[in-house]
């Protein structure tokens, strides 16, 4: 029998425990954040590759093409890291704390922009741009409280805010198979709630249990809120579930709109018009079923398009702002300002980072975004030529979107301190309540909506109080725009362009 070799080191129990403890503390210390996150990355003018983060998935071919063009034109290398959308907020926060941020990154909507600026995570662009650059964007692009804080510009929008996000998609083949065509044999486009119901009934009846009128995938997130948006926004400026900026309060309980929509939704389900496993599948799966022709109508956005194009599915149409009547009583509303990419405070290659940011925000990159890759509307109007777009689906999208989104009032434009009011989300929130109603768990629809309204208004008031306690100059009146006409583009009482 062999015996184990003696321990070569002179180890005692105490020294081993001390060593183990030291190792643990060392590991913990390695995880510790630096004391001053903002100071973790200091500006530099090195000549290494520009490090860059984004959260683009389906837009990857576009951004890789831009990187290749940029590198060829400037000789500056760009090192891209594609981050996960769901984890991006955490990655940004952790990166800032550990001093491990890239030179240029996609702006995250959370933490709020003002918090990111306050934390010193971003580098202002003022020293790197001029008046000419600012005026290359449309009026009201740079706005205090949106992408400017204390007169400093931090980012700029990349896409135009003139197109709404949500659409009802029509599977043209399913409509044709159900006989829902016009005189020229083209699929009919529903314009009202009644038409959607009628077309859904026709498709379901003719589908023989194989094809349904409507379908969606709600299992991964509250996609039914998108349906509320498409079907309620034409009826009132609050779209059923948002704040009514004419009164400064939520109205999902006191205005019958949201309840009427939910009753219609439940009616569709009870009548069997909805694809049966819609609550069990996710949005991606639902998109595949829609393309296969398992249902005739679904709600989504222009991000559906690349996947469908890849799968060779092009036989569909777009529509949005569907109300009780054909003529809408309200629109989708845009806010001035906007964001896309920003320089972080951890700049290692300042010159290269500025070059790369200006390249991305330039009209040529915008033109390729719209005209070549058909991914959306560039912020630069001169980069858009709808007639020259060859892709039928993308052209249809732009036509369907035209005039559906107009400028709306924004509390933070009138009072920049309004951005300091950040209500905690309520639970259960609007998406939860819609799901609860749809599944029959909340049978008292109006009661559930009244309760939601009360909780959301209370939450908003509490957030204002908290901001005031922190020194913000805000009041509930900042959310009230009594003279607002929802049918007319809102005129902002701010300069079209800032001065540097």
């Amino acid at each position: 029998m062999t015996t184990p070799a003696p321990l070569p080191l002179s180890l005692t129990r105490r020294s081993l425990l001390l060593g183990t403890g030291g190792l643990s503390l060392g590991a913990l210390a390695a995880c510790r954040a630096p004391a001053d996150p903002a100071a973790a990355g200091s500006g530099g003018s090195g000549s290494g590759a520009v490090t860059y983060w984004d959260v683009w998935q389906s837009q990857t071919p576009y951004i890789e093409n831009e990187i290749a063009l940029f590198q060829e034109a400037t000789g500056i290398q760009v090192q891209r890291t594609q981050q996960q959308t769901g984890a991006y907020k955490d990655l940004i926060t952790l990166g800032a704390r550990s001093g491990d941020l890239p030179d240029v990154r996609h702006v995250s909507s959370e933490p709020p922009m003002n918090e990111q600026v306050k934390n010193g995570w971003l580098t202002p662009l003022n020293d790197h741009v001029d008046e000419e650059w600012i005026r290359s964007f449309p009026p009201y692009t740079f706005v205090e409280g949106s992408n400017m804080f204390d007169g400093k510009i931090y980012t700029a929008p990349f896409v135009a805010n003139t197109t709404p996000a949500m659409f009802l998609f029509i599977n043209d083949q399913v409509f044709r198979d159900a006989g829902l065509v016009d005189g020229e044999g083209k699929a009919l486009i529903p314009r009202t709630w009644d038409e959607v119901t009628q077309y859904a009934r026709t498709i379901t009846e003719k589908g023989g249990g194989e094809v349904f009128g409507l379908g969606f995938g709600n299992s991964a997130f509250d996609l039914l809120s998108w349906w509320a948006s498409v079907f309620c926004q034409a009826e009132a400026p609050h779209g059923g579930f948002s704040m009514d900026l004419r009164t400064g309060s939520y109205a999902m309980g006191s205005d019958p709109l949201a309840g009427d929509f939910l009753e219609m939704l439940v009616g569709w389900k009870d009548a069997g018009y909805v694809f049966p496993s819609s609550m069990s599948i996710d949005d991606e799966t639902a998109r595949v079923y829609f393309a296969k022709g398992d249902f005739g109508m679904t709600v989504g956005g222009n991000w559906n398009q690349p996947g469908w194009a890849e799968d060779g599915f092009t036989d569909y149409s777009w529509t949005t702002l569907i109300g009780r009547e054909e003529k809408p009583k309200a629109f989708f509303y845009s806010a001035p300002g906007g964001d896309s990419w920003a320089l972080t405070s951890a700049l290692k290659n300042t010159e290269g980072a500025v070059e790369w940011l200006r390249w991305l925000l330039g009209p040529e990159a915008g033109k390729r975004w719209t005209q070549e890759f058909n991914l959306g509307l560039s912020i630069h109007p001169e980069s858009v030529d709808v007639d020259a777009i060859e892709d039928r689906n993308f052209r249809d999208y732009l036509v369907a979107a035209e005039g559906k989104q107009i400028p709306g009032p924004q509390p933070h434009i009138r009072n920049p301190d309004a951005v300091k009011v950040v209500p905690d989300p309520v639970s259960p929130g609007p998406g939860d309540v819609i799901a609860g109603v749809y599944t029959g768990q909340l049978s008292d629809i109006r009661g559930a909506l009244a309760d939601l309204e009360e909780r959301m208004n209370e939450n908003h008031r509490a957030a204002i109080d908290a901001a005031v306690a922190e020194g913000a100059q805000v009041s509930a009146e900042d959310w009230v725009f009594e003279d607002w006409d929802p049918m007319v583009p809102y005129a902002y009482d701010i300069p079209e362009y800032p001065t540097l």
């Binding site: 015996t3 184990p4 003696p6 321990l7 180890l11 005692t12 129990r13 081993l16 425990l17 183990t20 190792l23 643990s24 590991a27 913990l28 769901g86 955490d90 926060t93 952790l94 704390r97 933490p111 709600n218 299992s219 991964a220 997130f221 509250d222 996609l223 039914l224 809120s225 694809f275 049966p276 496993s277 819609s278 609550m279 069990s280 599948i281 799966t285 905690d424 989300p425 309520v426 639970s427 259960p428 929130g429 609007p430 998406g431 939860d432 819609i434 799901a435 609860g436 749809y438 599944t439 029959g440 768990q441 909340l442």
Partner: protein
């Protein structure tokens, strides 16, 4: 006399110590320092990822913290009050208890039945069957959940979106997924029962049922207690299967305590039919939920131990008598 040696040996602690010292003196013997060295990676990992978070969560339960920025503000018992006052915590607890109450007896019955069948000496290919039953247990619950989601979607059934059905689907998948462990434990228990007992029973004219009742079940009692304990605690702690299958939805219909705590800790993307996509990330609240639930489980465990100890005590002479 106390010993720390294996049963059946009579070496005392003092003797063991003498042998160790002698071995060290000769320079060829076994040194306990090697044991510490080998144990150290495990100790470090457990300290870092189990003990430290457990202790830390006790402190976090009294603050408001999103887990990323600096913790803000001592809130006292407010987090506990919020948890106890939240109806969705109680919905989640009810679902956890429901899951456990159905899964444990059904699964243990199936596992025992299969173990008895597979323990038959005359049966062929038993190792193949054992592997088949154990296979789901070695697969990641998350992967299994994804596969089942796709399977259910392809069947065009709204089982995961139907609040009346969703928990049953999860329970059935849960039974199937962890059956293998209990089957193997029961098989191991069955193989510890001396064959002579069955032979003697046969000589005495005992049939299959009498052997099962008077030999097999009493012989399995000790291991069954351990299996039951582990099954109950494992079921009360179910998380990954529910998280990936439904995220707790629709509208909390399948939310269990661990998915509820996860939702509090990490906020968004809880989903599950809009189960709760709108919750702010709050590690303090999640820690309070964990601590509260941890104490509840501790209470359950203590009650279990007391009851089972009584059962064991009452059953021990009977087994000895029967043996």
């Amino acid at each position: 006399m106390t010993t720390d040696a294996a049963p059946g040996t009579s070496r005392t602690r003092a003797e063991t110590r003498t042998l160790e010292t002698a071995g060290r003196r000769r320079g060829t013997g076994w040194s306990p320092l090697w044991s510490y060295l080998y144990l150290s990676p495990f100790i470090i990992l457990v300290a870092l990822f189990t003990i430290y978070p457990t202790i830390a969560s006790l402190g976090y339960a009294f603050i408001r913290w999103d887990g990323l920025s600096a913790p803000s503000g001592f809130v006292g018992l407010e987090n506990f009050r919020t948890i106890i006052g939240d109806p969705f915590f109680w919905t989640s607890l009810r679902n956890s208890l429901w899951y456990t109450a159905v899964l444990v007896p059904v699964q243990l019955f199936i596992a025992l039945t299969l173990a008895l069948v597979l323990n038959q000496g005359t049966m062929r290919f038993t190792s193949v069957y054992r592997s088949m039953f154990f296979l789901p247990a070695v697969m990641s619950p998350a992967i299994l959940a994804v596969i089942f989601r796709l399977l259910i979607a392809s069947m065009q059934k709204d089982w995961l979106g139907d609040p009346d059905v969703v928990m049953w689907v999860i329970i059935v998948i849960g039974i199937w997924q962890t059956l293998g462990y209990n089957l193997i434990y029961f098989l191991a228990g069955l193989q510890t029962i001396p064959k002579e007992l069955y032979e003697a029973a046969e000589v005495d004219g005992a049939g299959w049922w009498a052997s099962l009742r008077h030999i097999t079940l009493p012989g399995l009692r000790s291991i069954a207690i351990i299996i039951l304990l582990m099954a109950i605690l494992g079921s009360l702690n179910v998380f990954d299967l529910v998280m990936v299958l439904t995220g707790g939805g629709p509208y909390f219909a399948s939310s269990v305590v661990n998915t509820y705590i996860y939702q509090l800790a990490f906020g968004n993307f809880y989903g599950g039919g809009g189960a709760s996509s709108s919750v702010a990330q709050n590690i303090g609240l999640a820690s309070a939920g964990s601590v509260f639930y941890g104490f509840m489980l501790l209470g359950v465990t203590v009650v279990q131990y007391v009851l089972l100890a009584r059962i064991k005590k009452r059953g021990a002479p009977a087994i000895a008598e029967e043996s």
